[in-house]
Subunit: 337 residues, 2 copies
DNA sequence: TCTGATAAGTCAAACGTTTGCATACCTTTG
DNA sequence: CAAAGGTATGCAAACGTTTGACTTATCAGA
């Protein structure tokens, strides 16, 4: 056991040739003769030689490793994103380090730091809901590590990003409820930090304008995304003198929490109160009363596109050119259940 | 931009001392004088020096990286395991590469191969349901990469593992149903590959014996864990002349699929048919009719314990000693809903 | 026979760090 | 005052691989 791993040197010694010849032979360099080449390859096979990647990483200054920073793996949305990332990175023979911020800025910083130390070739990040500044990501610039943000994207222009535009689908979602006859539609929003670039709210507002429905600000409430927060927000809506008959929820989890809570309160789903939400997660398939519709945000595609963009940046870097900031925007899509 | 990163050499040159002195100074080596030490540290700080980890990895032959191989991140069970792994590995300044086998043996092999190439210091693995042999893991031995299996553990003795014993809690689960008055209890099993070491079934059988209930083999059916497979298995149970009044389901997903299907068939949950299952996943909180009880398998603890064991192996390795095969077994626990 | 091209291979430096050993100086101590 | 011991530092090798520059042999063409 622990038999020391064979190296290029050993092959060279056994064959009485130089290491450079061995190296080139293994890489099919043109200036190595066929005879030597096959001899080397045979010997390599016989010894069960495997190149020492850490040496190569070191020598080449690349690690063929990507870093993924995201809030929480347990959310189906993010594990779907990872599948997208995985697909593209595997094609490129890259592998990924994963770090969860658990929505803590401190943890996020620590993860980014660790990834920098591990000299990842690039970073894919979805920021935590408490990320108020992105200096720790900007730092990566100095180390030549490109960063691509996805989904939860900071609202600034000088970054690379892939995200999902929810404006149109928000309009569509509200119109869908209006067409069902709803006139009082609540909006159960997420925390302010996640609502800076508030496409959902803009869509909500504009759909009202478009259909000449009055806009009642008391119909817009916040949840911190915890179950309790959502329940409090729901109570707030239900205590209005003029209750909403439908609710647009920040995401499926919020909708599910609200629906469960509403049922505890003996409200009849889809009669007393209807729901539409965002994310279109598989988990909604298991419940009796899922939201009527949900806006698909294409996690897999976001992951795949972000990774493609990242690879473009990585390759561009080695070719020395500068790339303009690229912001890929996928269009969300309302899916009826 | 792309300003080249400062190295230990630069510090040495600027200070007109040797690199070894710098290296030792930065590591607080006792034989470096205070004056030199502070000078070096100041210069390092001024230049914003960061050690090149790839060089260190290479030199030390370690990467401070763990590999995690598991079937599917989207399962809440596994993301909970990752949280456990994360906690322990962060304490040790390790970071983790994650690979999903998606229940394909081929993919699993490829992941393990890639991780070996990246020279991870150790591997944590939960095998796919199609993993019939574990040579690819055994190979790691030759490279001095210890492997610890968790949860879905191969049924052989010469490995390290952390898993959850489900025998006692299976007995308990069935007894719970018996105490509720059930006399015909179906067992909706998983695929044969996952049932080699069949503690669930043994518990199911022994609980029957213990309570002198006849054991009807037709009450034991298989699902491949897909929704359709589960529905087929459920139909099989319901087409018996003497139907079960309760079902022990392989895991929560199976139970949820079956429950939904049962409701489509107008069966009344907890009246016509009751469920108990395994995993105790948070997702069951969102449904109207969760299983009556579920066996907690402590994913977080499994992840943490497996990682602790792995670190023991990694450290033992460098101290040259051999460790006996260790198989940590946590006891599952029936949780009433 | 000489020139020059080509093929096949070697040499040695380089990547950044760690570490065993040697060295230089200084201070004790017998 | 010389030997011993300690303190602070430098030297150089080593980890495994890649790669630009260089050497040697072979051979075609003039």
């Amino acid at each position: 056991m622990e038999k020391k791993v064979p190296t290029i040197k050993e092959i060279a010694r056994k064959l009485n040739i130089s290491v450079s010849t061995v190296s080139r032979a293994l890489h099919d360099h043109p200036s190595i003769g066929l005879r030597t080449k096959t001899a080397v390859k045979n010997m390599a096979a016989a010894l069960n030689y495997e190149p020492n990647q850490t040496a190569i990483f070191f020598k080449k200054g690349k690690t063929f490793t990507l870093g993924i920073v995201l809030p929480n793996l347990a959310e189906e949305f993010f594990s779907a994103v990872i599948n997208g990332i995985e697909q593209v990175s595997m094609q490129n023979n890259y592998i990924a380090l994963v770090g969860q911020s658990h929505d803590s800025l401190e943890t996020e910083k620590k993860i980014v730091e660790t990834m920098k130390n591990h000299r990842v070739d690039g970073i894919l990040a979805s920021i935590s809901k408490n990320t108020t500044e992105i200096d720790h990501f900007r730092q990566m610039n100095k180390y030549g590590i490109p960063v691509v943000f996805f989904d939860r994207v900071p609202d600034v222009a000088d970054i690379h990003s892939v995200s999902c535009n929810l404006y149109d689908s928000s309009v569509e979602a509200v119109e869908y409820l209006i067409n069902l006859g709803h006139r009082r539609i609540g909006y159960l929003q997420g925390p302010p930090t996640l609502s800076i670039k508030n496409e959902r709210l803009d869509g909500y507002r504009d759909a009202h304008k478009k259909h000449q429905l009055p806009l009642d600000e008391s119909l817009i409430v916040h949840s911190d995304l915890s179950t309790e927060g959502t329940q409090a927000a729901f109570d707030q809506l239900m205590s209005l003198e003029n209750r909403p008959t439908a609710i647009l929820a920040f995401n499926d989890y919020v909708a599910l929490d609200a629906i469960r809570y509403a049922r505890q309160k003996k409200l009849r789903i889809n009669k007393d109160i209807s729901f539409v939400s965002y994310a279109n997660l598989p988990v909604t398939r298991y419940v009796d009363f899922p939201p009527l519709a949900s806006v698909e945000q294409f996690p897999f595609e976001q992951g795949a596109r972000a990774t493609e963009l990242l690879f473009k940046l990585i390759n561009q870097k080695s070719s020395g050119q500068e790339m303009p900031y690229e912001n890929v925007v996928l269009q969300g899509k309302l899916v009826l259940h």
